[in-house]
Symmetry: C2
Subunit: 339 residues, 2 copies
């Protein structure tokens, strides 16, 4: 009903018969203003319920105190925890976090990045969509030296900071694990080659096979979108091969879960008939039966460090330090599905 009119420094100035600049300085505890005046001003500000207009201050300072985040989907646990990490750190530094999701669509991603760009975020943290085969939108940031950082899924052609895990090594390790438990015919359900993470996992897998002298049988390498929808079919194709695998490294936990359910339906024993592993350690992975072997990625940590890194760049604009690639460790989690 009643619209309380907002108090500005000018109102305070009038009330106190001093100038707006003095008020401004007093409010920021500038030592050029006498202690007495500062107190009076701050007192009055409190009394009248003054709130600084961040918009005006931002305009003046050309900073928005905001970092933008673009992820494929907010409701995927890995990304949600990364965002949680970003927010936690950003908060300690007084930065806002604007989030947007690409839904794994390039067009939406482009649009989100443009929006963040025109909203003048001070920096952007992104993890690219499954369709991203173009980098023009990211150039908006990199070419103007607006801090940009990719985590997990990066755009290889853009020169900027990155925080990743070693997917190659992780893929290698989990494959080696399957080998060491006795699997001889190991298949892999991979994700889109376009994304570095899936490519690396696949290559780690291939390297492990070759290091241990195991062959890559025909049809043992399936590329899918790693969705709930694609999972059952891909796994079915594998198990329908003349000689089906005795171990399958699935590109993510969702696909491994599909495989698990397929096995239950078709009376295949896991891990006796076929050992299974996923990737990412989703919340459900530890509680399904049999529990799912997987690779744990430090989502929260990645987000937290991403925020640290980008805010550091923002606060040291002249920083000419070369771009870094930070690789965080993963953890091989062996559970019943491959024990």
């Amino acid at each position: 009903m009643k619209k309380k009119q907002e108090i500005t420094i000018h109102n305070l100035a009038n009330e106190l018969n001093i100038s707006a600049s003095t008020v401004s300085r007093a409010l920021s505890d500038n030592s050029r203003i006498s202690k007495k005046t500062r107190l009076i001003v701050q007192q009055k500000a409190l009394e009248l319920g003054y709130r600084p207009n961040v918009l005006a201050a931002n305009l003046r300072s050309k900073k928005s105190n905001t970092i933008g985040v673009v992820v494929p989907r907010i409701d995927r646990y890995f990304f949600a925890s990364a965002i949680s990490g970003i927010e936690d750190y950003a908060w300690t530094k007084g930065f806002n976090v604007i989030i947007s999701q690409s839904n794994d669509l390039l067009a939406k991603e482009v649009s989100c990045v443009h929006t963040l760009f025109s909203n003048r975020v001070d920096g952007m943290i992104a993890s690219i969509s499954m369709q991203t085969n173009d980098d023009k939108h990211f150039r908006l940031f990199s070419e103007r030296n607006i801090p940009l950082l990719f985590f997990d899924r990066f755009c290889p052609s853009i020169d900027c900071d990155r925080i990743v895990v070693d997917d190659y090594e992780s893929g290698y390790n989990i494959t080696s694990h399957l080998i060491s438990r006795g699997c001889k015919r190991i298949a892999h359900i991979a994700g889109p080659e376009l994304l570095n993470i899936y490519k690396d996992r696949k290559e780690g897998y291939l390297k492990a096979l070759s290091d241990f002298g195991l062959p890559l049988y025909d049809g043992y390498l399936q590329e899918t979108r790693l969705t709930k929808e694609d999972g059952p079919q891909a796994f079915h194709r594998l198990m329908s091969l003349p000689v089906p695998p005795d171990g399958v490294f699935c590109g993510n936990d969702t696909t491994a879960l599909c495989a698990l359910e397929y096995c239950k339906k078709n009376n295949l024993k896991v891990p006796q008939d076929v050992a299974l592993t996923g990737f990412s350690d989703e919340p459900f992975s530890s509680v399904v039966t049999p529990s799912l072997s997987t690779v744990r990625q430090p989502g929260y940590q990645m987000g937290f460090q991403a925020a640290q890194k980008i805010i550091h760049r923002i606060e040291n604009a002249n920083l000419t330090v070369l771009f870094e690639k930070i690789v965080l460790p993963t953890q091989l989690i062996v559970r019943d599905s491959s024990r």
Copy 2:
């Protein structure tokens, strides 16, 4: 390295020897400017890589085109999907979404709300923390008629829009379900009474008991924080009673999962020895063994509608429509843990 200097409407104006106001109008396709001029200006803007300064425009218009969101934790599936819904709708209307999490701490919540307030978000969507027993911070918004909306967990003393599910009815239904499958001694592990949702679930439970003529045995009602940490103990207390329950309605899925694991360890058969149900339908609930009966809440829908509602209020500031309480339906999901 090279800092590209930003182009303003004044630069465009100079280049074209026209006034800044004309440029401004031309860029917004104002019909007062001739088609020819509009084209020339837009052409030039493109050529010089002009980007409007949203900060300046926002200052002028006193709008930030931003909505703030405060949730207990971003990485909880229910909240993540709500945020996802909020973002999806907000995006279609050109609104930014600033998120922050209270970590279920009142102090952090207060701080987040203050930050959003001083950042002049046009509206705020919140779900309160487990500790929130004070509403001063929310008054900042409600008293100035800045649109405010609670979803799921609301602050009862604040008069504003709410989007909730009927926790009372849901609690009633899931308890009735346990009764209908033959349970006679039904216990409940409740959440903090401070939160409407937990209180309502509990009361629905009590009503069902009384409607069907079942007693509430001593110790059958446990109040906990519903965390992974509290779960095992609370369930242990129940099962150590002289006459343990044959059905337990857990206040959330996390607690039900703890119960499930407790039963596995102690060779209790679910649902034969004790039937279990949770609440919320977490991603893991459908895949544990036995699968978990629960109540599905439409997280994404709640977020989406929350965004619709609040943006509608923002765009119709003079809207004197009474505050609404929108109740979305839940779905009782019966699975093996209580079949």
